[in-house]
């Protein structure tokens, strides 16, 4: 199956005075798994619906390969879509749902049946072909929706928060399976979610969106370790944003004239684990909590800023003895200290 790159060029969409997409540009490579990540109202679903053809951009262009699809009708785009609520046809059984796109394409009946059954096997639903949609579990419905979206061999797949209705364990299994399916088929995929862990786990690249703009597009590791804005830093996990001058280097110098981002789990309480070129924070312990795999310490700097420090249980032999009010020094290695470009503290 030949997959296509997607080009999103300066797309803008406003509903009255509310700007849903504010000059969004994005290139997705052929065969890539890209996730649009953001809080609700960030524009990620609007962008997906624009690609699907259900939202018409006010300006800008959408390209599928070299083809301009900005004004193309949804039914001519050949894009597989998995909807948030699955959108399975309740009046058809599993097989009929999966055969539906093939029937529309006038695929010969016997061939359509075979293709549908093969696809059902691919998503591990063999044996449920004659089942009614109402008789399926959430996970099974999800698989039918997947099968229906790929059975007609679209060259691009869009997924709108497909796992949000599933419980946590099932969600993790399905994350793995969707990624495996993507790797098998090599189909260009744009995946929408508000779950940062899901985005990090599944994607080749993540585009973080907020208020209709793309804040940063990068690999999951870069997004997590090297956020380009304060929003991205805070959205992606327990981030400490430190005003300039809050930290010093371990050997006593002034560490920063910039705003720094240090993740809670990057800290150590033992300077020996860090090395000479790290930074140190002098603080008072406010609270501590044992969370099983780690300890979460809340520290207060002398200027009142709060800092979260997360120490893995294996390295936290001294944590149990720490008392609130006690002075502690938290160290972070230099490579885990990230200066947020242009951020105003």
């Amino acid at each position: 199956m030949k997959s296509l790159p997607i080009t999103i060029d300066s797309v803008r969409k406003a509903y009255g005075s509310y700007v849903a997409l504010d000059d969004v540009s994005l290139d997705v490579q052929a065969g890539e798994f890209l996730t649009l990540l953001g809080p609700s109202g960030s524009g990620k679903t609007t962008l997906l619906m624009a690609l699907a053809g259900f939202v018409r951009p006010d300006s800008g262009k959408l390209l599928l390969g070299n083809r301009d699809i900005t004004r193309l009708a949804p039914n001519k785009r050949d894009i597989g879509i998995v909807f948030q609520n699955y959108a399975l046809f309740p009046h058809m059984n599993v097989l009929a749902n999966v055969e539906y796109p093939l029937a529309l394409r006038k695929t010969p009946k016997a061939q359509a049946r075979q293709q549908a059954l093969d696809t059902l096997a691919r998503v591990k639903l063999e044996g449920l072909a004659k089942r009614n949609i109402a008789a399926l579990s959430g996970g099974q419905r999800q698989r039918v929706a997947l099968a229906r979206a790929i059975v007609f061999e679209p060259r691009v797949m869009l997924m709108d928060e497909p796992l949000s209705a599933l419980d946590r364990n099932l969600r993790e299994t399905m994350q793995y399976e969707i990624r495996r399916l993507h790797d098998d088929l090599g189909i260009t995929t744009i995946y929408v979610t508000h779950d940062q862990r899901e985005a990090l786990t599944m994607s080749d690249r993540v585009a973080v969106m907020n208020s209709g703009r793309i804040q940063q597009i990068d690999t999951p590791q870069q997004i997590y370790d090297r956020p380009s804005t304060r929003f991205v830093a805070e959205f992606m996990g327990e981030a400490n944003i430190l005003a300039p001058g809050s930290a010093r280097t371990i050997d006593g110098g002034d560490a920063s004239r910039e705003t720094l981002m240090i993740r809670a789990e990057s800290f150590h309480l033992d300077a020996k684990l860090v090395g000479r070129d790290g930074v140190a924070l002098e603080a008072r312990l406010c609270a501590k909590a044992f969370r099983g795999e780690n300890w979460l310490l809340t520290l207060a700097l002398d200027d009142g800023q709060e800092v979260l420090v997360c120490i893995p249980a294996a390295l936290a032999s001294g944590c149990a003895e720490l008392a609130a009010g006690q002075r502690v020094t938290a160290y972070a290695p230099a490579e885990k200290v990230h200066a947020i470009p242009g951020a105003i503290a």
Binding site: G80, F83, A87, M92, N97, E99, Y100, A103
Partner: protein
């Protein structure tokens, strides 16, 4: 959903609650029983009595052997089926338009649709008379524009009666169809389109099958109402359109023949029951065949 293994105290509470609700429904049950069942029983008894009050099957022999009865029956069915057919043809697209309109537009259109329902049927029927008669507005427009040389016979006949009945029934048909279509998840339509369905294919393979229940309800309402329609054929039929309802009235007012009128009434009841059974059967059949309907 049944609750198993409940606390006995709670079960007693639930029983008390059910008894209370049952008690609340008694007045309604009483009225239905008294006001509907008793007259029917009385009519059945009446149909076996002579004018002198003796038991006989003569009423049945007389009514069922009369050609007038059978032509009235045929007229009744023709009017009902004709009204239903036009309601489906006009009402289904209208419901589709309403269901896909923006909420404000849909409310406005709905108000227009509902307006006739707030007007007395007598007023509306005479309104049609004004519009459709030989010198009426419609014929004036037709002859004035040169579309027809002669005024068309639009009223005091089957056509006029049908127009009046359709006008009355269309909103009542529309409501359940519209409700069913509005409840269809918009993502189903989007999903079908994303897989390549044209608008026509979306309507045929997704919208119509999923609103079949509403179309059935609407059709049932149309049948139940139109089978006993009296005012419209009486005013717009001009004596030439004689469904069972008119025969009953005439049998009573002209001949004071309670026995024959009762037989005609029972005939109407049987017809309604037959159609009811047919609808239920068709519905069950549809439900059974709903799976495996992929080929578009």
């Amino acid at each position: 959903m049944t609750v198993t293994a409940v606390d006995p105290g709670l079960a007693a509470d639930a029983r008390r609650e059910r008894r209370f609700f049952l008690a609340l429904s008694l007045p309604a049950l009483f009225i239905v029983g008294l006001a509907a069942m008793l007259p029917i029983l009385w009519i059945i008894r009446q149909s076996f009595l002579t004018t002198g009050g003796e038991y006989t099957v003569g009423n049945y022999e007389k009514v069922l052997s009369s050609g007038l009865t059978w032509s009235a029956l045929i007229t009744t069915v023709e009017l009902s089926l004709g009204t239903l057919a036009v309601c489906i043809l006009l009402g289904t697209p209208l419901a589709l338009a309403l269901a896909s309109a923006r909420p404000r537009m849909a409310n406005l259109l709905m108000a227009f649709v509902m307006l006739p329902l707030w007007t007395s049927i007598l007023v509306r029927t005479y309104g049609w008379l004004v519009l459709l008669r030989r010198e009426g507005l419609v014929n004036a427009a037709l002859t004035g524009s040169g579309l027809t040389a002669e005024p068309l016979p639009l009223v005091y006949n089957f056509t006029g009666t049908l127009i009046g009945m359709i006008h009355y029934m269309l909103p009542l048909f529309l409501l359940p169809v519209y409700a069913a279509m509005r409840d269809i998840d918009a993502n189903l339509v989007r999903a079908a389109a994303s897989m390549g369905a044209t608008l026509g294919q979306v309507i045929r393979t997704v919208v119509l099958p999923l609103s079949a229940g509403g179309i059935f309800s609407g059709s049932t309402i149309v049948f139940i109402y139109t089978i006993g329609f009296f005012i419209t054929p009486a005013v717009l039929g001009g004596g030439k359109v004689n469904p069972l309802s008119i025969r009953i009235e005439r049998t009573l007012s002209t001949f004071q023949d309670w026995g024959s009128a009762s037989v005609l009434g029972i005939l109407l009841l049987v017809l309604m029951a037959l159609i009811g059974v047919m609808f239920l059967a068709a519905r069950r059949l549809m439900a059974r065949n709903k799976v495996g309907a992929a080929h578009a």
